[in-house]
Symmetry: C2
Subunit: 174 residues, 2 copies
């Protein structure tokens, strides 16, 4: 049904054209990220948008082999948690809130005709520390995930097979 | 732009009509949940769908005061992590993968005209243990979040104000 095709057709895109991402689209992606729910509406996130090619190369180097697509991406958005805003009785909700923001961002990218791939940073603490140092983040800001973005070189809106797995579902108890 | 309105209009819905949720819609919600990315495509999640009113009441009791909307919900879906499937070098990615699945489920609900509210379980371990016991989950399955679902009593597709916060965004470094 209308509006959900982005959920079902979403795919990871790792090859990008050289076309830059318009600033208004970057703004919309960030607004999408901030439109998700968060624990007690803490909005305990922060975003570092990187478009400088040299810095993208360094971010890729700091995030392990799977981050190679970032080298040729038009932009990389590092989603972070902000522990100063996190729900004090259970600060680890920041991990969930950051994932919600990053997924909204990826779905919005798909709807805008952009390609995106999610690059895991947390909980791999070597990556977390290297990104923190590279980007000069304060101690209260924790790197969560990087979304590499750009215009895709392939058609990304084509249908996909269902990814439903029956054995993942239990009804009214295990 | 088309297809992203569900991201921007999404809101938490806590009051539901008595109309049940059609089984085909529940299936589609679960398919949406399983259409998100996961670390190394581990798909390290599992779902317990609860429609039994007495069991919904017990789930609500086990999940703290914010879970009260579950008492009158048509369905509650407990999103879980499956540690047996999780990426062995960094199993905690299950927390991110579960959040992606749950957010896809919430956005799909919005697009289907359903209301949803996200009820936090992990990392509040008292809630995690009570849900595990109530639903008879194996040790390798960890309760993550509950999504309460039903037909809303209010119009949920109406526009919302922007939730963009300028001070959350940094460009090419902190």
């Amino acid at each position: 049904m209308q509006g959900t095709e982005w959920i079902f057709t979403r795919r990871s895109v790792r090859q990008f054209s050289q076309r830059p991402v318009e600033e208004e689209k970057l703004h919309l992606l960030l607004e999408a990220a901030m439109s998700g729910p968060s624990c007690t509406n803490a909005r305990d996130w922060a975003f570092v948008v990187v478009t400088d090619p040299q810095l993208l190369q360094k971010m890729a180097d700091a995030n392990g082999a799977p981050a190679k697509p970032l080298e040729k991406a038009a932009a990389g958005i590092l989603v972070c948690g902000d522990l100063e805003r996190a729900f004090p009785p259970a600060k680890d909700y920041w991990v969930i809130d950051g994932a919600i923001a990053a997924q909204n961002l990826c779905l919005c990218a798909q709807a805008l005709g952009l390609g995106a791939v999610w690059l895991g940073t947390w909980p791999q603490m070597d990556r977390v520390e290297r990104q923190r140092e590279l980007l000069g983040l304060p101690d209260s800001v924790v790197p969560h995930s990087i979304i590499a973005l750009g215009y895709p070189v392939e058609d990304i809106a084509r249908p996909r097979e269902s990814r439903y797995e029956e054995n993942r579902v239990h009804w009214n108890g295990w």
